[in-house]
């Protein structure tokens, strides 16, 4: 009986020691991984900020204006003007039989349609 008690205590000590060591090493491994991930996040953020800066640079109004002018033949974009606002009543909606609800909303802007014999403003 006494021997059994000693042996089981010894076994417990060995087991607890093993558990403590593994926990210690997994913790260290995790914190290294966290460090690595933080570094990665930092790098990704830096890359992101570079991309954001590039996006902002490519979308600067000067450049977009030049592009619009260069591609006027194919795109035909003009600055937004008062005439481009339309009322919902101006849009030829399909007949009510199709079940389009008559909502009390107004459409903010629609693509301008050139009238016959008239250029874009």
């Amino acid at each position: 009986m006494r021997v059994f008690l000693y042996l089981s205590c010894l076994g417990l000590v060995v087991f607890v020691a093993y558990w403590a060591y593994t926990e210690n090493y997994t913790t260290q491994a995790s914190s290294r991984r966290v460090d690595n991930l933080h570094q990665q996040i930092a790098q990704e953020r830096e890359a992101l900020s570079v991309l954001n800066a590039e996006w902002a640079y490519l979308n600067r109004p000067d450049r977009l204006r030049d592009l619009v002018e260069m591609n006027f033949d194919s795109l035909g974009l003009v600055p937004l003007a008062a005439q481009h606002f339309a009322e919902l009543e101006d849009i030829p909606l399909p007949p009510a039989a199709l079940g389009i609800p008559n909502l009390p909303v107004s459409v903010k802007s629609v693509t301008p349609v050139a009238e016959e014999g008239k250029d874009f403003p």
Binding site: S31, V34, V50, A53, A56, N59, A81, A82
Partner: protein, 597 residues
């Protein structure tokens, strides 16, 4: 070990011969043996105690030492918290009201040299000058080879291509340091508002970025505060509106042969500045050095909208009328004597042309009569005029978040005599910035409460300050301003933008010259407007510096021919961008008489 017998035969025989009991021999021998065993056991037990004691000493010693070490070491945060702060950008971004980036950071490199590490200083100097032609070869060679210099900054910012070129030289004494660089992707757009940055404290690994002007300086502490974790500063500006305003204003400035121009677009209810342009401008990425000679206002760094103090001319007349209406001295149809020239002491007060013996108050504004406003100001009195201008903000710096604006005080007359009252009633003798004017027009048009102009986006639809005039006065004034534009005799007929009911007042002020008089050929042409008149939402102030245009066979400088068409074009472009729906074409607004008695 030799074991001794308990009863040795020889001794037993010997004892028997002497007649003694041989058992005594055995007892003595046994006692001796037992004594030896006891000594041995005692020694063993002593050793065991010693070892056990040592074990305890070592064990408790180890625990004690560890506890001592823990108690003496500084408490350290866990790795998780330590590494988060590193990933935040040094300086926060600046965005417009819709989140478009106006200022951000880029990581670049700075180049420095450590001559003691160099292999061949002469060659390194020669190669460097090939990559950077602006470096001085003689000086570099001297620095690299003299042995006195241990550390030299060569370039504050280099591009990745230049870095590769320097890297390819293979010189171990040329080293790179990380630098965070401020980037303004939109270039000149909003240059005066953003200001610019410079490097502060410089280290090998990093350098401080400090704001030098504009919001970069005003919000410097906030932008650098790590506690805010890099959340961007959102301005009230609208990038699209700013871009359209700048484009139209620049075209207008060139077309009108002006040497400078400024435009401010403000929300009348909140005081948010949606667009503020001053021309000529500069690229904040390459901020020029401040001019050390000549007039500061000729430098592109000069913000005409917030720093330029000008006599703003007839745009002030509406404030005189506001004073009279508020004091109950007149209503829009009260007749005012306008015989020109009017004499006050030795000063003659003249109109642009003679408007006959009398005009109604609304016609005084529409035709812009100096004499009419002068008479109204005299009737209302100096203190009433002062109170009105003070409550509209003309006595103080504009409280906007620009470092330049907080250093620009309006110029008031030293002694406010009657003649000052007269001239100030039509905008001479008091100099203020176009931003002051925009703020005052906003307060006048929004129903009569003071607004605080701001460059920060507010998430409110109204920011009411103290009341400066009654709602009825505010409405009457806007209706009068509307007639300036839509009446065929008004001074700003070119300002009409279909659907947007522009209301405004022109102002043409001759610039003071060095001799203390006025220069007839150099004027500041201003148009201060609000729109739409039926429910004012925005105010736009356009000022042109020395415009001159030949139109209909005459050289023209008045605001009606210069600033007004530019302002109209800006409104036509910007109002749809801001989502302002045009009002359906209606009957032109006719002024309805309201009795004041």
């Amino acid at each position: 070990m030799r074991r001794e017998p308990l009863r040795p035969l020889a001794q037993v025989i010997h004892t028997r011969e002497q007649g003694e009991n041989p058992d005594m021999i055995e007892a003595r021998a046994r006692a001796k043996r037992n004594q030896a065993i006891a000594v041995k056991h005692r020694l063993r037990a002593e050793n065991r105690l010693l070892i056990l004691g040592l074990a305890f000493v070592v064990g408790f010693g180890a625990i004690g030492a560890k506890m001592g070490m823990l108690a003496n070491s500084a408490p350290a945060e866990t790795a998780y918290f330590a590494s988060t702060s590193k990933i935040i950008n040094q300086r926060a971004d600046i965005t417009d009201r819709n989140g478009n980036v106006l200022a951000t950071n880029l990581t670049t490199q700075a180049l420095y040299a450590q001559p003691p590490l160099m292999v061949d200083g002469v060659k390194a100097a020669k190669d460097l000058v090939e990559i950077f032609p602006d470096l001085d070869l003689d000086r570099l060679t001297r620095d690299f080879t003299s042995g006195k210099r241990k550390f030299i900054w060569l370039k504050k910012r280099i591009s990745p291509e230049q870095r590769q070129l320097v890297h390819d030289l293979g010189e171990p004494g040329l080293l790179f340091g990380n630098r965070e660089m401020r980037l303004y992707p939109n270039g000149k757009l909003a240059a005066h508002i953003l200001g610019g940055t410079r490097f502060g404290e410089e280290g090998v690994r990093a350098a401080e970025v400090l704001g030098v002007a504009g919001v970069e300086k005003y919000f410097d502490d906030m932008l650098r505060d790590p506690a805010l974790e890099g959340s961007p500063l959102q301005l009230s500006l609208d990038l699209s509106a700013q871009s359209a305003t700048r484009e139209v204003l620049e075209d207008g400035m060139i077309y009108m042969n002006a040497k400078g121009a400024a435009a401010i677009l403000m929300d009348v209810h909140t005081g948010e500045i949606l667009s503020m342009v001053s021309l000529p401008d500069f690229d904040p990425n390459e901020r020029p050095r401040p001019a050390t000679t000549g007039d500061a206002s000729d430098s592109p760094l000069f913000n005409r909208a917030a720093q330029g103090v000008y006599e703003l001319g007839s745009t002030f007349k509406i404030f005189t009328v506001a004073t009279s209406l508020e004091k109950g001295l007149a209503n829009p149809n009260t007749m005012i004597e306008t015989k020109s020239p009017m004499k006050w002491g030795k000063f003659p007060i003249r109109d642009y042309k003679n408007y006959g013996p009398e005009l109604s108050v609304q016609d005084v504004i529409m035709k812009s009569s100096n004499v009419g406003t002068a008479r109204m100001a005299l009737a209302a009195g100096t203190s009433a005029q002062k109170d009105m201008l003070k409550s509209l903000g003309f006595f103080e710096e504009v409280p906007v978040e620009l470092i330049e604006a907080s250093q620009t005080k309006p110029l008031l007359p030293k002694r406010w005599s009657d003649i000052s009252t007269i001239t100030i009633s039509y905008g001479h003798g008091l100099s203020a910035t176009p931003l002051h004017l925009a703020t005052a027009y906003a307060s006048m048009a929004n129903g009569g409460y003071a607004v605080k102009p701001t460059l920060q986006r507010l998430d409110v639809t109204e920011a009411k300050g103290a009341r400066v005039m009654s709602e009825r006065t505010s409405q009457q004034l806007v209706n009068m301003l509307r007639r300036v534009v839509n009446d065929e005799n008004g001074t700003a007929t070119m300002g009409e933008v279909p659907g947007y009911e522009v209301a405004g007042k022109t102002g043409t002020a001759e610039k003071p010259n060095a001799q203390g008089g006025y220069d007839k050929k150099k004027v500041i042409a201003t148009f201060a407007s609000v729109f739409p008149a039926s429910n004012p939402k925005y105010t736009l102030v356009v000022a042109l510096d020395e415009p001159e245009i030949n139109a209909v066979g005459e050289d023209r400088r008045t605001a009606g021919w210069t600033a007004v068409p530019v302002a109209a074009e800006i409104i036509a472009r910007v109002a749809p961008i801001l989502g302002l729906r045009p009002l359906a074409p209606k009957q032109p607004i006719t002024y309805t008489q309201t009795s004041n008695q």
